[in-house]
């Protein structure tokens, strides 16, 4: 129930018999919110309350930021290319927030169909999962479905990009080559994420594998031969995604490759 200030509180309804008065009693509400017991009685309602309180707190924060005309950061990723700019909140309404941000960022938002907002005023980054109107003339974007997120790609320590079309990769476990379908999802200076149609038998965290990758740099093949160790794996409907950490690889060529790939991605998004 909400109290007079509109804040959700947990009340217990109490019935007390009045002594020596037959058929009479006293009903009262006791506010026991501080005891934090609601989740014992109604877990789902607690989650909803938290969500509502977070949404309210978030909107309050965004309003403060808007009132102060403070800039916030807006972050998108185009095939791994980080595109970050400043934004100004121009309107806040029930359920959506309108921001003003540069043209390239608008394009990135439109491509990714979601975005992340950051500010020193926020306790955590805010993920916007739904994009409303994108008006290139007025340079505004309307964002919906906002929520605080505990982990954010803005905290990535390394840049990782999707490779160009010309790529091959082979995975060896000892002398045995994995013969399934395999491709590079993204690559950074320290790791590579591979998509496989099956998991090789015996693939485990501590067992080193050998990766042979051929990428293209300045129209020449860039060969990367390294041992690597699995960091984590995840499964989707038709494939597995496995992240490998490089173990003995000189990074200079990869710096060149990732820089060149970034330039290509900048040209690509500008041409969209």
């Amino acid at each position: 129930m909400q109290n007079l200030q509109g804040k959700t509180r947990h009340f217990i309804l109490k019935y007390q018999i009045v002594s020596e008065q037959t058929n009479y009693g006293i009903l009262s509400f006791d506010d026991v919110t501080e005891l934090n017991l609601l989740k014992l009685f109604d877990g789902r309602e607690t989650l909803n309350d938290d969500k509502n309180q977070n949404s309210k707190a978030m909107l309050d924060l965004l309003e403060v930021v808007q009132r102060n005309s403070a800039k916030i950061g807006i972050h998108n990723y185009y095939k791994g290319l980080s595109i970050t700019n400043d934004a100004i909140i121009s309107d806040i309404n029930e359920g959506f927030v309108t921001i003003k941000t540069p043209f390239l960022q608008q394009k990135a938002v439109l491509f990714e169909k979601k975005t992340i907002l950051s500010s020193e005023a926020f306790p955590q980054d805010i993920l916007c999962e739904e994009i409303g109107k994108v008006d290139f003339e007025k340079q505004i974007v309307t964002l919906k479905s906002l929520k605080f997120i505990k982990t954010s790609p803005t905290r990535r320590k390394t840049i990782r990009v999707t490779p160009g079309e010309k790529q091959t990769v082979s995975l060896f476990m000892g002398e045995i080559k994995f013969h399934g379908d395999i491709e590079i999802e993204d690559i950074s200076l320290y790791s590579v994420r591979l998509r496989l149609n099956a998991l090789p038998a015996g693939l485990q965290k501590d067992i080193p594998v050998i990766l042979d990758m051929v990428l293209e740099l300045d129209k020449k093949p860039l060969i990367i031969h390294t041992t690597a160790a699995m960091l984590r794996k995840s499964e989707s409907r038709h494939s597995f995604s496995v992240v490998f950490i490089f173990q003995d690889f000189k990074q200079n060529d990869l710096i060149k490759y990732i820089t060149s790939r970034q330039m290509a991605l900048i040209r690509e998004i500008k041409g969209l």
Binding site: G73, H75, L81, S82, I83, T84, N85, D86, L104, S118, T154, K157, T158, I159, L189, Q251, N252, I255, K256, I258, T259, Q262, M263, I266
Partner: protein, 252 residues
């Protein structure tokens, strides 16, 4: 350590290193370029790291003095390619923040850099940054030559990293040189400063700022270091220099 890098200050806790890597593919239009590194407690700030052409060599040389991942800041005095051209490479290979004039932030995407949240942009008046026990001062040097331009003063080593101010057109640096005869060196300074610097008024404004600091060395991005009495000699020379718009009739 080879001839391309030299420690110019080391008090046991702070170290300043001068590098000189050039794009050797363009020796016919040669202008020697200096890059600098300040290190304290294993943490580094890299100054004007230069173009893509020298990235590999500078990367290897810098890693002899500091772990690349421990470079916390990269300072770009202005936007020129021989200063900022490798920003994307340094962004990939470090987690550093990039310190530059707010005027040039939007132009950095032309070098392949798009992570604007990693930029600490400087407003025109400059800023102070705590580094180790002391401060680094970002001193305005606008229109000398870039419209958004800063020198960096390290209060510990008492070095002014002056960017293009003090630059000299000299031959390839076979060995590291400090200006020994200022009168002789003036001819290497004049042509560059006359054409590249904004005006005498701007030179005076910068000199006035620098004279308030305790300076032992001026370290330009091209040419030789000014030490001890040559700091004063250079500042006096620059204060009186007519340049840029002072020669407007020659230019238009």
């Amino acid at each position: 350590m080879d001839k391309n890098h030299k420690v110019i200050y080391d008090d046991g806790t702070r170290k300043c290193v001068m590098f000189s890597f050039d794009d050797e593919s363009h020796e016919d239009s040669f202008l020697s370029v200096n890059q600098y590194l300040i290190v304290q407690n294993g943490v580094g700030i890299l100054l004007d790291p230069g173009s893509v052409a020298i990235f590999d060599e500078l990367y290897d040389a810098v890693s002899e003095h500091v772990e690349i991942q421990n470079i916390k800041y990269v300072f770009l005095s202005h936007q020129d390619p021989d200063v900022s051209g490798s920003i994307a490479q340094w962004a990939i290979s470090t987690n550093a923040k990039f310190i530059m004039s707010s005027l040039w932030v939007r132009f950095m995407s032309h070098y392949g850099f798009t992570q604007m949240d990693r930029v600490m942009s400087l407003s025109d008046k400059g800023a102070k940054l705590k580094f180790g026990d002391d401060y680094l001062h970002f001193v305005p040097a606008h229109f000398l030559h870039s419209p958004g331009n800063f020198s960096l003063y390290d209060a510990k080593s008492k070095i002014v990293f002056s960017g293009d101010i003090g630059a000299a057109i000299v031959n390839a640096p076979e060995s590291y040189k400090t200006v020994e005869n200022f009168e002789e060196h003036k001819k290497h300074l004049y042509g560059f400063h006359k054409r590249y610097m904004g005006s005498n008024k701007l030179c005076r404004a910068w000199v006035a700022k620098i004279e308030k600091l305790d300076v032992k060395t001026i370290a330009p991005q091209h040419g030789f270091l000014f030490e001890n009495e040559n700091v004063t000699n250079f500042l006096e020379w620059l204060r009186e220099l007519e340049c840029g718009s002072d020669f407007i009739d020659e230019l238009y």
